[in-house]
């Protein structure tokens, strides 16, 4: 009986150790920076080292402007919330709001243009098959008009 229990215990220990060891050795690193994102793109699209280097350079080049635009959009989101609040209080400055809408449209256009340029430049580095897969990956973000322009 003791031998039976010992063998079962040894099996449980070996199974547990194998599970934890394998999991720890192959667990993906928790990284949300540009390198991790580009590493994911490289893996998904099977980019060559040369392609990867060029695409990385393109993203690094466009990143400051993208971050600036994202910050601007966040600021405008806060302003919009204030306008909503003013509208509820029936104290809205319509001239100011019209300016805001105009500015927002300009920022949206600039965002679309920046994204389009980056995607086009990155697509230019890829072959046809990679480009197709890249567009599939970008589908949730790409606007229909942009997709049409890319074709």
């Amino acid at each position: 009986m003791t031998r039976l229990l010992l063998v079962i215990l040894a099996g449980a220990i070996c199974g547990g150790l194998a599970h934890l060891g394998w999991f720890a050795a192959h667990r993906p690193a928790r990284a949300d920076d540009l390198d991790a994102e580009l590493g994911w793109i490289q893996e998904s699209l099977q980019l060559s080292p040369d392609q990867f280097a060029r695409i990385k350079a393109l993203h690094e080049q466009s990143r400051p402007r993208m971050l600036e635009l994202a910050s601007e959009l966040a600021q405008m989101r806060r302003e919009f919330a204030q306008f909503k609040h003013a509208q509820e209080a029936e104290d809205i400055d319509f001239v100011e709001f019209a300016r805001f809408v105009e500015k927002r449209r300009a920022v949206d256009r600039e965002c679309l243009e920046s994204t389009r340029q980056l995607v086009l430049a990155a697509s230019g580095v890829m072959d046809d098959e990679q480009r197709e897969r890249y567009r599939t990956l970008l589908a949730p973000a790409l606007h229909v008009s942009d997709k049409a322009r890319l074709d």
Partner: protein
Amino acid sequence: MTPSPDPLDDLVKRWGENAPPLPASVRPEVWRRVARAEAAPLKAGWLARLEADFARPAFAGAFIAACTLLGLFLAEVRLSRLHAQRDAQLARSYLTLVDPLFADAAARPRPNSPHS
């Protein structure tokens, strides 16, 4: 060559014909005892057989190897799920990187924009 008839055969035959009838409770009692006698060794035999199997080094080794493989398989299932989640997160993160409007739409409490 046929064997000579045994004189006891006639006696046994005659005794069987004139045997007194059995009480009604005898037959169920016999079957109950038979069932009990068969069940007890079976139960003991199951555990004994298991112990005997585990006492064999080859069987014990195979059992431990099977446990190890099961542990690896379960780890791979967990890893597969984790990779899928991470890929989805990286995809969102990348889309946010290349399209500030995507990030804005994700952060916006309402889907409609001010100019729509």
